[in-house]
């Protein structure tokens, strides 16, 4: 089932298993799903005790949006580990060439081919995106939205910038590496610092909860945006690197 992985130029859904086996697998999965469906319907709807618990503790959480309260206060530990997951992926896809750590994070370059539509579009869109992501982050406390949505939006701006061809990013630069870990680092620092007042890791003092959550979210947004742009860069290996080499010679005095 997994021994025969094809990267294949063609997307043909060629199976590596005999039809008989596939049929059996399909049958087994269908039977299991049917059983699961019956069991779930049989059990019926459930009233969760957590609904009232979340509602009654929302005031102490420092935010008004219950999802944000769960993500960054009640179950903040999950979110902390989730930022660690993103860091792992960032490290895994980072370009292996560590010799470039002296090159700047963002460099300006002359694009090989210019797209005037995209450029004009960007001039208006970029500030709008940055403002909107800031707004998403800010409203995350009360309305739907938050660090991940804001980070994704900010990353979109970065990717557009990349596509326009005027800039390139070097994720081995110290500034970039700082950006990659700042979310996790701030989260850990805040989590440890509150021990001084409440005695328990990540237990924010109630009066400070709102502001601390915002601090964590801002740092997380930066990290998430940086990591998402890095992911996109990593999958575009050839294209930017071609004019990247030329850039280093030009940039250095």
């Amino acid at each position: 089932m997994f021994n025969n992985l094809t990267l294949g130029r063609s997307a043909q859904h060629k199976a590596d298993l005999p039809v008989g086996v596939l049929f059996m697998v399909a049958l087994a999965i269908a039977a299991a799903c049917l059983f699961l469906t019956m069991a779930l319907i049989d059990f019926g709807p459930a009233e969760q005790p957590l609904v009232t618990l979340v509602a009654s503790h929302l005031e102490q959480s420092g935010v008004e949006n219950p999802v944000t309260a769960v993500l960054l206060n009640f179950r903040s530990y999950d979110t902390l580990l989730e930022v660690a997951v993103l860091l792992i992926v960032a490290l895994a896809v980072m370009p292996a060439n560590s010799e470039q750590s002296k090159v700047r994070f963002i460099s300006v370059l002359v694009p090989t081919e210019r797209s005037f539509v995209l450029e004009a579009f960007l001039r208006w869109l970029l500030p709008a995106i940055v403002v909107t992501s800031g707004y998403l982050l800010w409203t995350g406390a009360a309305l739907p939205g938050g660090a991940f949505q804001a980070g994704a939006l900010l990353a979109g701006a970065g990717i557009l910038l990349l596509l326009a061809g005027h800039h390139s990013f070097n994720f081995n630069a110290s500034a970039a590496r700082l950006l990659l870990v700042v979310g996790l680092a701030v989260f850990l620092l805040v989590g440890a610092a509150v021990i001084l007042s409440s005695g328990i890791a990540l237990a924010y003092p109630q009066a400070w909860a709102g502001i601390l959550i915002l601090v964590i979210e801002v740092a997380a947004t930066l990290t998430i945006a940086a990591i998402l742009v890095l992911l996109f860069c990593a999958l575009q290996v050839e294209a930017p690197r071609a004019n990247y080499e030329g850039l280093i010679k030009e940039e250095r005095p």
Binding site: L5, L7, A11, Q12, P45, V51, V54, L71
Partner: protein, 95 residues
């Protein structure tokens, strides 16, 4: 059949479709699509169950948000591996 139940069933069906696809298809990118579909099915079961009571339960919403980010992280990692393997294969072909 309530709305929540309906979506839960669709979630289970998506899970099954994705699972079968992930096992049966050899092409890596489609395997990855299948795994993602499988994940969407799981998320749908979470969210559907969360709305089955009188008031919405926000804890599964938070869990699904975490799940979505983890899923995209895994997908990105797999895709970067695919690209790197492909680059090596092309170098082999060129050599």
């Amino acid at each position: 059949m309530t709305q929540a139940m309906l979506y839960a069933v669709f979630g289970i069906v998506l899970f099954g479709v994705g699972l079968f696809g992930a096992l049966a298809i050899a092409h890596v990118m489609k395997k990855l699509l299948a795994i993602n579909i499988c994940g969407v099915g799981v998320f749908m079961v979470f969210i559907a169950n969360a709305s089955s009571g009188v008031a919405a339960d926000y804890v599964p919403h938070a869990m699904v948000l975490t799940g979505i980010v983890v899923a995209v992280a895994g997908t990105a990692m797999a895709l970067s591996l695919v690209v790197r393997i492909n680059t090596l294969e092309q170098q082999e072909e060129d050599a």
